[in-house]
């Protein structure tokens, strides 16, 4: 029975988990919160896309990327470029010396739209780019690194360097990218004003639906043979290699998948927040995204969503009431999660709460203890 259950796409407890999350996202939050707070939670949920990707890469695959902000940013920038072009009609930009191009280009003496901006005039191409650009980027990094068996700490540091490089590039090439200001003042999507309260609510639901698409995709990967191989690779890479599998290809695939998720999250961020800037690309946000995943539980895709929600909610709340304490709290959280709760919220749930619930209900729904991430070698 047990093997049967674990082979099913969703076990009973997982099904309940998905249902609860769906209820929270689609019913509880919208009922409880006004549009402003709902929009904030929508923003937090865009980070959940990244965290889910990290669960696959890091939790399951043992690949810790400190550069997920790069993919989040690339996706977000692709979306922002389309929206910016739509906002920069010749009428809106009549005050510029070259009307019809984005304002920051005009400020930087560009007199024509750069060629590589052209595709972003078309929404389907832009949407394609939201996924494709991060994936291509991840593919190049992945091929270069994984076929040479770079992993663990080295991979983490090199991805971090990529985050630094892209930030400097974006800020330095401000005529093409908007520089440190980012791409701001985005208004409409195909004529539909994304700044109104109704639009924010619609976008929140779109975001929620996409999140579940991504969750199901991640669940599919985890339940597939690939998912089991990933865990095997994380624990004993050489044995998997000796069994005849091409370890690098699996790693590249999962890294690209994580990048695609992050790209979608970035695009949704742009739509909901109304701009994109290099502060979301750099080293600091990239590491913060890892902590969302770690707090939720690096092995649990649902945990990742809760982690992203909880940390960001705490950040907003703390910084509203005790701005000076926020960094201490965040720093403490990093340490506490690593030292005391290596499996994060999901671990606390599986080890502490679920067994007691089971005892209470005596339903005998045997909870499967999570494998202990702490004890498995991370490289």
């Amino acid at each position: 029975m047990m093997t049967n259950a674990s082979n099913r796409f969703l076990s009973r407890s997982e099904l309940i988990g998905f249902a609860v999350l769906a209820a929270i996202i689609f019913i509880v939050l919208p009922v409880m919160l006004d549009t402003f707070r709902l929009n904030l939670f929508g923003k937090y949920l865009t980070y959940a896309f990244v965290a889910i990707g990290l669960v696959l890469c890091w939790g399951a695959g043992g690949i810790l990327s400190l550069g997920q902000g790069v993919f989040f940013g690339l996706g977000g920038y692709c979306m922002a470029m389309f929206l910016k072009l739509e906002a920069s009609t010749p009428e809106n930009t009549a005050i510029q010396s070259t009307p019809g191009i984005p304002d920051f280009m005009d400020w930087n003496q560009l007199t024509a739209l750069p060629v590589w901006w052209e595709p972003f005039k078309v929404l389907p191409l832009a949407l394609l780019a939201v996924v494709l650009v991060p994936v291509v980027f991840a593919f190049i990094i992945g091929v270069a690194m994984f076929t040479r068996r770079v992993g663990g700490v080295y991979f983490a540091i090199i991805t971090q360097a990529f985050a630094a490089i892209l930030t400097i590039l974006i800020i330095g090439q401000q005529g093409y990218t908007g520089g440190v200001n980012g791409i701001t003042d985005l208004r409409t999507l195909l004529g539909w004003d994304i700044r109104t309260d109704e639009a924010k609510e619609v976008l929140y639901y779109v975001n929620g639906v996409l999140l579940f698409v991504v969750l199901f995709a991640a669940q599919f990967v985890r339940k597939s043979k690939l998912g089991r191989l990933l865990i095997a690779m994380r624990d004993q890479e050489d044995r998997v290699r000796f069994s005849g599998y091409n370890v690098a290809n699996f790693k590249i695939f999962v890294f690209c998948l994580g990048a695609a998720f992050a790209g979608i999250g970035g695009a949704m961020f742009t739509l909901q927040v109304g701009f994109m800037s290099p502060t979301l690309v750099g080293i600091v946000p990239s590491i913060e995204m890892v902590i969302f995943c770690a707090v939720g539980g690096r092995l649990s895709i649902l945990g990742a969503v809760y982690g992203a929600l909880l940390v960001n909610w705490a950040k907003t709340t703390f910084s509203e009431s005790f701005p000076e304490l926020w960094l201490l709290g965040l720093g403490g959280l990093f340490i506490a999660v690593v030292m005391a709760f290596p499996n994060g919220l999901a671990g606390i749930w599986a080890e502490q709460i679920a067994p007691r619930l089971a005892k209470l209900t005596k339903s005998g729904g045997a909870s499967v203890p999570l494998p202990d991430a702490a004890k498995s070698p991370a490289e």
């Binding site: 890091w58 690194m145 400097i168």
Partner: protein
């Protein structure tokens, strides 16, 4: 590119840029040595490395105020006292952090990365609460300011020479510690085979702690030296972290010689490129080159052994 300059100017350019590169090299060496000890010998990634450096810088700041207020006569020498105290302060904090945190995480290198990042955030906030959000100005003794003219075009800044001398002496000290002292032999033994090292009677736990402490202490000295050329503020440490890690990884993590060679090549490349390109592009190109080479040669320039 070259046509704007005459031959003698070009000669001067290369001489001065070479020297600028040497200063940058010394800066990199100072930043990276502490990290190379910790990362190379223990496999621990200390993301709070920059904050340990800034602790050294703040100690220097306190000492400069202290000397100016109480012993103005000795002000010109305060810097040496400050460096020793910076070493002790950062080293002591390092010992504590190792005891409280790192020793529980030796088998989880990626987790130390997260935990030390958390530590860096906490330290930043503490600095901010204690010293204020603004940068503090550290006054430097007069004899360390100014420059020595070599020719009409070429001048050599004194604090640059000081940083270079410091980098060389600390490298030598670390080398002697590592390869001539009992502690160094123990560290290397543990690095090669922890179980066997323990079996022959080496106190591996204490050696680890001392290694971490010394690595942090060296970072503190680097921070003290950087008050001469950079800024001292709560978040200044983060400016150094990517460069530092790349230097260490590029050099081949376990090799001190590699760290020095990599600091040399990165700094020279960057300073030559900076002259002919804009500062931002030089930085991007340097980082890209380093990352590109690391992709081709993941073990870095000098690898003592391939992977684990």
């Amino acid at each position: 590119m070259f046509s704007d300059y005459s031959m003698s100017e070009l000669g001067a350019i290369f001489a001065m840029q070479g020297f600028a590169g040497l200063i940058l090299f010394s800066v990199f060496v100072l930043m990276a040595l502490g990290l190379a000890i910790i990362f190379g010998q223990m496999g621990v990634i200390n993301m709070a490395h920059g904050e340990f450096m800034i602790l050294g810088a703040y100690v220097t700041y306190l000492m400069s105020n202290f000397f100016a207020d109480y012993m103005p006569a000795l002000f010109s020498m305060y810097f040496f006292v400050a460096m020793i105290l910076a070493f002790i302060a950062s080293g002591a904090l390092g010992l504590f952090v190792e005891w409280a945190m790192i020793r529980h995480l030796y088998k989880r290198p990626l987790d130390t990365l997260l935990a030390t990042w958390g530590l860096s955030l906490i330290l930043q906030q503490i600095y901010r609460s204690v010293f204020g959000a603004r940068e503090v100005g550290v006054s430097i003794p007069d004899w360390m300011m100014g420059s020595l003219p070599v020719t009409d075009l070429i001048e050599v800044p004194i604090n640059g020479i000081f940083v270079m001398v410091l980098a060389v002496s600390i490298s030598l000290a670390v080398y002697i510690l590592m390869f001539k002292s009992v502690w160094g032999r123990q560290v290397r033994a543990i690095n090669q085979n922890r179980v066997m090292a323990g079996a022959v009677g080496i106190n591996t736990e204490w050696t680890d702690r001392l290694t971490f402490g010394i690595g942090c202490g060296v970072a503190g000295v680097a921070g003290a030296a950087f008050t001469m050329i950079g800024s001292t503020g709560p978040t200044a440490g983060q400016l150094y972290i990517v460069d530092t890690f790349l230097v260490v990884v590029f050099g081949g993590a376990a090799s001190l010689l590699g760290t020095i060679a990599s600091a040399f090549s990165i700094s020279q490349a960057q300073s030559i490129m900076e002259f002919f390109l804009s500062g931002s592009m030089a930085k991007v190109l340097t980082l890209l080159t380093v990352v590109g080479i690391l992709m081709i040669r993941p073990q870095g320039l000098f690898a003592l052994k391939l992977r684990k």
